[in-house]
Symmetry: C2
């Protein structure tokens, strides 16, 4: 049982769609922004579900790891090849299979990206509402249970995947879920696969729920003197049931970085970016109520872009924040820590984490989908500066511990060396995940080392 034997079998039927070129291996094992760099032994470019099944079957026979990969935009290193093996690159499976207008759903292949899907849907009056802020593949978004700036209104991938086709660890092809909106009796295999990070199956087709494009969109930029006021405002909007479609927080460091990066002149204060979707009058009413609350909280709304392109520019601020922050400190990479706490703890969590960061040598700007209690801390680490990697690691550990102590969750794992966040968060539930993994992938070939511990 060897990886080499598996690869030579794959080469037999994939031909030049199996690559061992160094350029490919490097491109597929490198996480977007964190060490370690763990390339696969080969990269396969299947074009059909049947080919994926054949790849997995051949790898299973040889005990060879199989790692699925979309666009590789995850900052969490989801497609690192911890034990080598074959990376299944879905870039050639990127078709829209069918758009069902009347049912407001779409069937797609996993390599299609969210941006391209939405570009295609533009003329249909429909759109897919999960927007992670990078041009991620829809298969990767499902595998990592991605959310985004509109999760507060439309939910994450957990809420918007109706059905899947997947190849299991033994090469079996299954279909889960249905286009009908009420699922059949039975275990929710769709939601078991969503978020499983390629460890239980490789997603080869997705049926996604679509939404009607809103008749009216209104967006605003608001500044606050203090971070706590911005957070109180976000919390108030949710508890007053104002149906915000997007609600994003940027701290003042992030605002400074986007000013520099994009030549803007936002006041260097914490900001909320907000958007409302709906019919004419309801959007006007939502916006008016929001504005009233901002006023009560001592904030200031200083822009209501009326044109679609001005709104796009507004949201580009948020989408470029990551790159702006990277550019704000030369020679840096960003360790992203995504956490979510109950709304009532958000202010405490942010203030405590800010104090922790202030006492460390590492800059740690914060932003997030604050309407769902989500905050992203980007630790801007210079690998070459002595002590920074260690300091960042201690800081990350403290941040995670603090989030968990406040009843929060941490997305992704921040201890690839043993996945210890998982044990802390799930307790005995993590053992149960291991039991499910062993039942469905007894050889442990699917994306080893993710979600559950590496097999011995």
């Amino acid at each position: 049982m060897t990886i080499a034997a598996a690869i030579s079998e794959l080469a037999g039927f994939l031909g030049d769609r199996l690559s061992r070129a160094e350029r490919d291996l490097f491109g597929h094992g490198r996480p977007k922004n964190r060490a370690p760099f763990l390339p696969p032994d080969a990269v396969a470019y299947p074009e059909t579900t049947r080919e994926v099944a054949r790849i997995v079957t051949a790898c299973a026979a040889q005990g060879c790891p199989v790692i699925g990969r979309g666009m590789g935009t995850s900052p969490e290193g989801h497609s690192q090849a911890m034990r080598g093996g074959v990376c299944v690159d879905f870039s050639r499976m990127n078709r829209i299979v069918e758009v069902n207008h009347a049912d407001m759903d779409v069937v797609v292949q996993p390599g299609l990206t969210q941006e391209i899907l939405n570009r295609h849907l533009q003329s249909t009056g429909l759109f897919f509402p999960v927007e992670p802020g990078t041009n991620a593949s829809l298969g990767g978004m499902a595998a990592t249970r991605a959310g985004g700036i509109a999760t507060v209104r439309y939910g994450s991938m957990a809420d918007n995947v109706l059905a899947l086709q997947a190849v299991l660890a033994d090469g079996r092809v299954i279909r889960t879920g249905a286009r009908a909106r009420t699922p059949a009796a039975g275990y929710d295999l769709t939601r078991l696969l969503v978020g499983s990070e390629g460890t239980l199956g490789l997603i080869t087709e997705l049926t996604l729920r679509l939404c009607g494009q809103p008749e009216k969109i209104s967006a605003a930029v608001c500044a606050f003197d203090r971070m706590r006021d911005a957070i109180d405002m976000a919390t108030a909007a949710i508890t007053y049931s104002i149906p915000v479609a997007r609600l994003e927080l940027l701290d003042s460091a992030t605002v400074a970085a986007v000013n520099a990066y994009a030549g803007l002149s936002l006041e260097q204060k914490p900001h909320l970016l907000v958007e409302f979707h709906g019919f004419q009058q309801s959007v006007a009413e939502d916006a008016a109520r929001f504005a009233e609350l901002v006023d009560d909280m001592g904030g200031r709304i200083f822009r209501w872009p009326a044109l679609a392109e001005d709104r796009a520019a507004l949201w580009a601020i948020r989408q470029n924040a990551y790159y702006a922050l990277l550019a704000s400190r030369t020679g840096t990479r960003a360790v992203a820590i995504d956490l979510s706490v109950p709304l009532s703890r958000l202010r405490d969590a942010v203030e405590e984490i800010r104090a922790e960061i202030a006492a460390s040598p590492i800059p740690g700007p914060m932003l997030g989908h604050v309407g769902v209690g989500h905050v992203q801390v980007l630790l801007l680490v210079r690998d070459q500066v002595p002590g920074e990697v260690e300091a960042a690691s201690v800081l990350a550990r403290h941040i995670v511990e603090r989030a968990l102590r406040l009843g929060g969750t941490v997305l992704g794992d921040h201890g690839l060396d043993g996945l210890s966040d998982m044990a802390a968060q799930h307790g005995p539930g993590w053992d149960v995940m291991g039991e499910i993994k062993r039942a469905l992938d007894p050889l442990g070939i699917l994306n080893p080392g993710k979600v559950v511990p590496l097999p011995h």
Copy 2:
């Protein structure tokens, strides 16, 4: 390994909270409305999670089946004791553990009912939006993935359970999910347990998402000459993105039954009942757009009840429909078939099923949460009339096949003798469910015969 040995051990620590009284056994094995009647050997009334764990541990040691039970309102026979054993009745675990106002969530025990929870929440400005139309227990609603009249707006139990505590088949206690709105990395064990019908674990605590009570509610009753027009109207409301909070269909047979049952005088035509939730202006706007569409579709809105008690009376029509239909044919029981099809197939599905029913001797009125493509057919069977049971069984089979052929799903199973709907709907995915079941409950003691086949 015997059931008797398990029961005598349970009696040791439960005392008179373990019952073998015939009255209890009968009360706990009788499905709401369908044969066969399969009582357990004993009924346990635990008061704590620890006691539930102790019960399951003792039963596991003896290979004794354990069947959880809430209020027993399911029409699908979920708590029938297919192999005897111990019924765990959660009626003494019915407390609200905590209401977190600021976070809009609540922690409850599984025996609490939805109606009592909402009565308690009334003064808080919050409510729990899943309303199955009977006073079901929240644990049972989670176990059966219940939806209800507001699923179209607020989702089902799959969307509204944030976290669970559960006792697994070996007595382990796990916690899944979190109060934070963005779940941690890891498999979605919460949504695996929701809908698992007590076959993977017994739910002993639930954390539920709450919503703000709407500032303004508006409701209407609309009549249509033809069933197809009512369905076209429902479909149009969804595709025009009118954010209905409730949208229910009653066919004319159902309307006749509720008229007789409740002394009403609705026109004997297909009806839609609709409700809008939101701020003042948005509700007015939603209602106006809906009314315009009804007009276009040739329907007629003849009542907009302004007072809360009149709206309650309106929804009581829907909630009593089941009992009204039972009363409409003496000596009958109702075999409920819940199906859901993609919206675009709803009209065809309903018309084909109506034709099928018309050609049979069994009355089969239809109603449903039509905004999510759901239709319930109630076959009114008289067990004592020769041939009716057989005719109903054939009819049910045809209806299920038709729904599946139109891309639909069927809730519950309609072939307790082998669960054949499950194989038809899930294909190889059903095998995967069996693999998960065996991994988590290798002895097959948790609610045997549900979701996956009975062990040999």
